[in-house]
Symmetry: C2
Subunit: 525 residues, 2 copies
């Protein structure tokens, strides 16, 4: 073990943030994100980072456990986490540390499963159990009116936003040109400014709390998950962000006529979702996309404020910073709204890692084209703190050897994503059962294969067709590609960490050990 | 729901019993099994029943949970069961019932995992937790010298088998022709009689305890798992079973010269195991196989005694009986000893189900060629008791509709098996890591495909080659078969019950429910 100076971790997650709107990911756009770019200049920007599922719940469970959805089994939003899964905070607790939380996790504990099996939990372990391993400073999942005891709600009321429903009335509420209330739940109202001062909006509030926490910690080590709510819908920004960009500043959706006239059955069902039909109209994306860019700009501004605090406090010397998002947002691409299905607009995310260690000097400001995945975050954090266990559970890999230029080897040959669309209208449209609505994506350097239970596969050649507009899944000439990708998937399945209750070291110890450990002879003549 | 008269369940499991040694499965051999055949005449004999893994631990975990090893994650012997898994006894406990145990389960609880997460369990739930859902009358896993407090050990001592190690000295111990001690651990001694009276041997002892239990229960309903230790090694039978059969009564091993001269790498590594090298000599199988048949004959005799007791007590009217085994035994087939790899000698097991219900009258004595699997036992038992939950966990299917002639539909198109050989010498021989030693078998009506991590697949055409001697995995003409089998496997993976913490009914309730249940609008213009 080499010594490390890293004592703190700041793990920033955005919600529904596409990689390609950040100026470090796609320079030349109207939106500039100088502060996120500043982090990229200090660290490594992973250009081909993918989530394991483009849905909040499963993606976050992968970020927090370092495991794929087939392993942690949180296949969709609010599916309770099985009680035998370990999260970042559980690993840290083995070293007397904790992971504080500000913002969203989408985590639901399996309290009912515990009770049914007669299991109980108490003390600090109970907090971790019910909060997915985190120690909440303030958990705030967003997208709903808040409970009465929510500190953010208290903050809004104290600041004079007087209402029974301050979130709906102010945070996502607007007044139209006639002075009538215009709810942020309706896309048509997105361009109107929120009725909160930008300093009282969700992004600023959570940043303030993060600054409070970091300043209160002083020289004591800490790990903080700052989990922003935005730019997730309802698309609603406070002034000046609501009007910072216009339709001309936004790229039109990436979509072809043929995608709509000859869609794959699952894509067709998703195209019929209300959000997809809305985004099919130019008016919708021309209304939403400018606000989306404004919300991202606000994140950048607030993140810059936080970086300044870290810098002034000397914390850039000893703090690992991870910046990412739980998935993207189609925003009309492929005739889709929202996320879920396997196009890059949903599966590809920003991932920037700043390693304060001197050994990372050689990679600062560089770009990695490795297939980094959300499952790599937990092992990277634990590795930076010198706490990386030889875990039989963690499926991701520490990125530190790549951050420190200790290897230039391939991180992984393929990236895999899964989707359980049992909960979505698409399943009803297709008339499928709750266990007949599974999708799997395999992507290698060139191709992306999408397997859909009960339907033909889709295939895209990302070299010839980086926008994923030409589905060649039915082309007989691609049979060798199908075969190779399926073989890679079979191998991927074989490598899942199913044997999670026994350490690899114990497996080694128990290998060919019947005589040595148990005085058993097998087959001795 | 139609009324059922079934109140009791007798679930008999043998250990390492091949299907094809029973006379109901292969008539005309020297070994007659009239009592097992009697059960087959009363019930349905499944001719193509398979286990999910040919290793005790994972196979039993599948029998007891109704789930495949990729789901319950007990991938080998003594891998602790993850704490969120449910066993037969856990389901019965929801109805105030329990599943009593006599004999082997190979179950190991994940006490360490519980403690590390700060979880606790107490009361009746603690017994179930630590015994895999069972309520032990007497747990006896066999194959080891017993602990001091073992009732079977006490029984042996009381019967005059005086020793610190009564199991090693008497139950598997013999005297050679010179009167010297000859341990049953050595195959060369298999033909010598055990030093216990047959009535004090493991099979008879467990049968006695089962009879005691059933008679004590009287008219009270019960569920009993009677889990015999035999004919698992050490191959050692008491008189007269040790000498009931000779080499001429046994079929020679099914194996070809080419299997040995040109083996697949994984098969080659298994062929180098001590037990495989022993069975490669004719002397070995000619010594072992007669004893194996004798041990099976003893099971048949004892099982007949149990059937007589059930009959005399009127219990055949209200007792579901399941007879099966956790896997087979290669016994020299394919130049292999033991089990594990995917040939029928290990994967195919006897499965006979007697349903006392009048609705099963039409199928009595019939043979089913459906791909029944060990995962079907739990749902069949629960169904017979009227307790089959709409479980999101159980992956097997109730066989009752087939037993009652209510359907003639296909039970399943393929049967799948898995192997984690991390713990075996074969892994060391091949120089592979503990997560690089996974095998998967897919079998359909005609073909059996074996996938080996890091090596080429094996393929067998069971119509043309029922003995699995000609590996056609490398034949380019079989590419379409490979493709079809891999597609079936991908679909199988998609259907695994990963979403185990939420009921299917709740999934249905939560489908497309964001507006109805949560007042959330997504994408409304």
């Amino acid at each position: 073990m080499t010594p490390t100076v890293t004592r703190n971790v700041l793990f920033v997650m955005c919600d529904q943030l596409r990689a390609d709107v950040l100026s470090c990911y796609r320079p030349g756009g109207a939106l500039q994100t100088p502060n996120i770019d500043r982090l990229a200049a200090l660290g490594v920007r992973f250009d081909r980072a993918h989530v394991s599922s483009a849905v909040c719940g499963p993606s976050r469970a992968s970020y927090y456990t370092g495991r794929y959805p087939v392993s942690h089994r949180v296949t969709w939003n609010r599916v309770p986490m099985p009680i035998d899964e370990w999260s970042l905070g559980d690993y840290l607790a083995q070293h007397g540390r904790e992971c504080h939380l500000l913002g969203k996790t989408h985590f639901v504990p399996d309290d009912r499963g515990m009770k049914q099996r007669g299991l109980d939990v108490s003390g600090a372990a109970a907090v971790r159990f019910r909060q997915g391993g985190f120690t909440p400073i303030e958990r705030y999942d967003g997208h709903f009116e808040m409970q009465a005891d929510s500190p953010y709600r208290q903050h809004l009321l104290a600041r004079g936003y007087d209402s029974d429903r301050p979130w709906e009335d102010y945070v996502i509420g607007s007044l139209d040109t006639d002075g009538a209330f215009a709810s942020g739940w309706y896309l048509r109202n997105a361009g109107l400014p929120a009725r909160v001062d930008r300093r009282d909006s969700e992004t600023a509030y959570l940043t303030d709390r993060a600054i409070d926490f970091i300043q209160a910690k002083g020289e004591s080590p800490w790990t903080l998950h700052l989990s922003y709510i935005k730019p997730h819908w309802p698309y609603k920004a406070p002034a000046p962000y609501h009007a910072m960009f216009g339709p001309a500043d936004c790229a039109p959706p990436v979509r072809s006529a043929r995608e709509r006239s000859h869609p794959h059955p699952v894509q067709a069902a998703y195209q019929k979702h209300e959000e997809s039909e809305a985004f099919a109209h130019d008016t919708a994306w021309q209304t939403i996309k400018p606000v989306y860019l404004g919300l991202v700009r606000q994140i950048d501004d607030e993140f810059g404020r936080l970086l300044d605090v870290l810098d002034a406090a000397g914390r850039m010397q000893d703090t690992l910073i991870v910046f990412s998002s739980d998935h993207g947002d189609h925003l009309g691409d492929h005739w889709l709204g929202e996320k879920e299905v396997f196009f890059d607009s949903a599966m590809r995310v920003p991932l920037i890692v700043y390693d304060p260690d001197a050994r990372a000097a050689g990679t600062r400001g560089t770009v990695s084209h490795a297939f980094a995945e959300c499952v790599d975050v937990v092992p990277t954090i634990l590795d930076a703190l010198g706490m990386l266990p030889r875990s039989q559970r963690i499926e991701g890999q520490s990125l530190l050897p790549w951050l420190r230029g200790e290897t230039t080897g391939t991180l992984r040959e393929i990236t895999v994503g899964t989707l359980d669309y049992a909960y979505r209208e698409a399943r009803l449209t297709l008339g499928r059962g709750v266990d007949e609505s599974h999708g799997t994506m395999v992507r290698d350097d060139r191709y992306k294969l999408m397997l859909w239970q009960g339907y033909r596969p889709q295939l895209f050649d990302l070299h010839d067709d980086p926008d994923e507009l030409h589905d060649i899944g039915n082309d007989p000439a691609t049979a060798p590609v199908h075969r190779r990708m399926r073989e890679a998937l079979d191998d991927w399945h074989a490598r899942r960490r199913q044997r999670a209750t026994e350490s690899d070291a114990d497996v080694v110890l128990r290998t060919h050990a019947h005589e040595r450990m148990m005085n058993i002879l097998i087959g001795r003549w």
